[in-house]
Point group: C2
Chain length 320, copies 2
């Protein structure tokens, strides 16, 4: 099996590369290292079967050097993962999330890659979906530019599946955490506590509660669905969407308290804001209906809060 | 009232400009004339209050000359309307539909335009929605690149509404017909019959049935919803989606027979294909639930088949 992984030096991409290599696959990892890092892939960088290319997937010609090579799988994970940056500069999500998807699709078409895995997000559902939110959710109106760029990407993937013989597995992730964070609440809290261990200011009232999943469970879920839910003949069987997260949720308050417990033994004063959301475009609560994944026999190793706790412990060590 | 209309020399855009002028508005019509035509606007080109600018809205700097001017309304109708071209060259829909929307949104933000009207499409619903399809349709997976680019546009509009104080009215049109066609079944049939009046080859088995709306009803519906459903405070009240069409449907067979009756007195042999759809990415049947528009007190002047018949009659004359 030959896999091409974009964003392969990011949190999820690097875990996927590592897993594919362990299963005996050949992996070409592409990353422009804008958010990803060589440190994420250093433990397997010199493995046989692994290649790394520092390319920007938003460029129309990025896949030109691959002409004549064959791949069984394109996992497209390159994206801007910094949600609040998208509000300041919507051009960032347009370029780093939407344009990379469009150019990844063109690459899949040009190189005749039959299978595409895409890392989407619960942010496609917008502010007020039913909870827990099923994949077939009516009225998906994203409130973050991040969510908009992911939904826009899904739309083009859906059309490419119909028009050019591609098969797609689209995973709408909860908040993915692990040892190697590049963004998110844990990442922010750790950075702030390193600057000032006496006080932690939390955006929002801390009652925002979201669904978290450990990155290793995330990768096992992706490969599980690929294996257990192969492409069929109809569009719905060739463009498959999976909510991929745990069933529970974890509040920002729990994350703040646990991070403070691990880093300062609880000696930090935590100050919460008044607002129900952390910032404009933030969503106060996410909870995904993961019944479709569970029905395929997949089961996450860690629940939401256990994933958060393990991430706080391993990330503070890894980032020391 | 000062309105900025992109794609203002197209079928819907020119009808909207004409109506706004008749209501006393000042109108700046922007069109790159790639699909639109000066002939569409010739009857009001020299009206007081009307300006025309031949600009390409997909260019990031298109609105730079407007700095310092104020507009109450941006109607964004610039788009590629040739669905089958999108299959050959997905770059066309990406650039002419998605990029124009992104740059229209940046213009609305830069010029602080408070209200955006967007021309979307029933193609956002994909191949197998419930029928008649309501706006809050679960699992919207477009099968045409055209529909994908429109859904991608809607997603970014939704996020801009949340983040930058914009209010949006999104209209998912049925097949819009009228005197000045630039694409579609009637346009194609007329062109083919002019080349060869003895035989008309129809893509698909002719049983494809879609919902049609006259362009004048389309424009009255847009302005009706803008008037009767003003923006509120929540995201759902500021990003409003309306199916805009008639309640009935008209089959390709009816269109072919009527066009032949009008053009050759029925002397043409019509040859149908075997497939249920006209081309890959085509949808065999569309039927929209327009209850939301009807509940606002709007009523179309013509039903689906009457709109088709009037368009065949007026377009064959206009295009002679």
């Amino acid at each position: 099996m030959k896999a091409l992984v974009t964003g392969g030096a990011g949190l999820i991409g690097s875990a996927l590369c590592r897993r594919l290599l362990a299963q005996g696959a050949q992996v070409l990892c592409v990353d422009d290292l804008s958010l990803g890092s060589l440190r994420h892939i250093e433990d397997f960088r010199s493995s046989p079967g692994f290649e790394f290319a520092e390319w920007d997937v938003s460029r129309p010609d990025w896949h030109a050097p691959l002409r004549g090579r064959t791949f069984d799988l394109l996992a497209h994970l390159a994206a801007n993962s910094d949600i609040s940056l998208g509000r300041e500069r919507p051009e960032t999500d347009r370029s780093r999330t939407f344009d990379t998807t469009f150019e990844a699709l063109r690459a899949a078409r040009a190189l005749s890659i039959p299978r595409l895995l895409f890392g989407s997000t619960s942010a496609v559902y917008g502010a007020e979906p039913v909870m827990p939110t099923p994949e077939a959710c009516p009225a998906m109106h994203p409130v973050s530019v991040y969510g908009a760029a992911k939904l826009a990407s899904e739309a083009f993937i859906s059309a490419f599946v119909e028009n050019y013989g591609l098969n797609a597995w689209v995973y709408r992730f909860g908040n993915v955490v692990g040892r190697q964070l590049t963004h998110g609440a844990i990442f922010d809290f750790v950075a702030r506590l390193r600057r000032d261990p006496t006080e932690l200011v939390v955006l929002g009232d801390g009652r925002q509660a979201k669904t978290y999943i450990d990155v290793e469970d995330c990768v096992s879920g992706m490969l599980h669905a690929l294996d257990k839910s192969p492409a069929g003949r109809t569009h719905a069987q060739r463009f498959q969407v999976f909510n991929l997260s745990t069933t529970g949720t974890t509040s920002v308050r729990e994350i703040a308290e646990e991070t403070v417990a691990v880093m300062t033994g609880g000696k930090t004063r935590i100050r919460y804001g008044a607002s129900a959301v952390g910032w404009v475009g933030d969503v106060a609560r996410t909870s995904l209906d993961v019944g479709r994944m569970l029905s395929l026999g997949w089961k996450p190793r860690l629940d939401s809060t256990a994933a958060v706790k393990e991430s706080i412990r391993t990330y503070t060590e890894w980032s020391r």
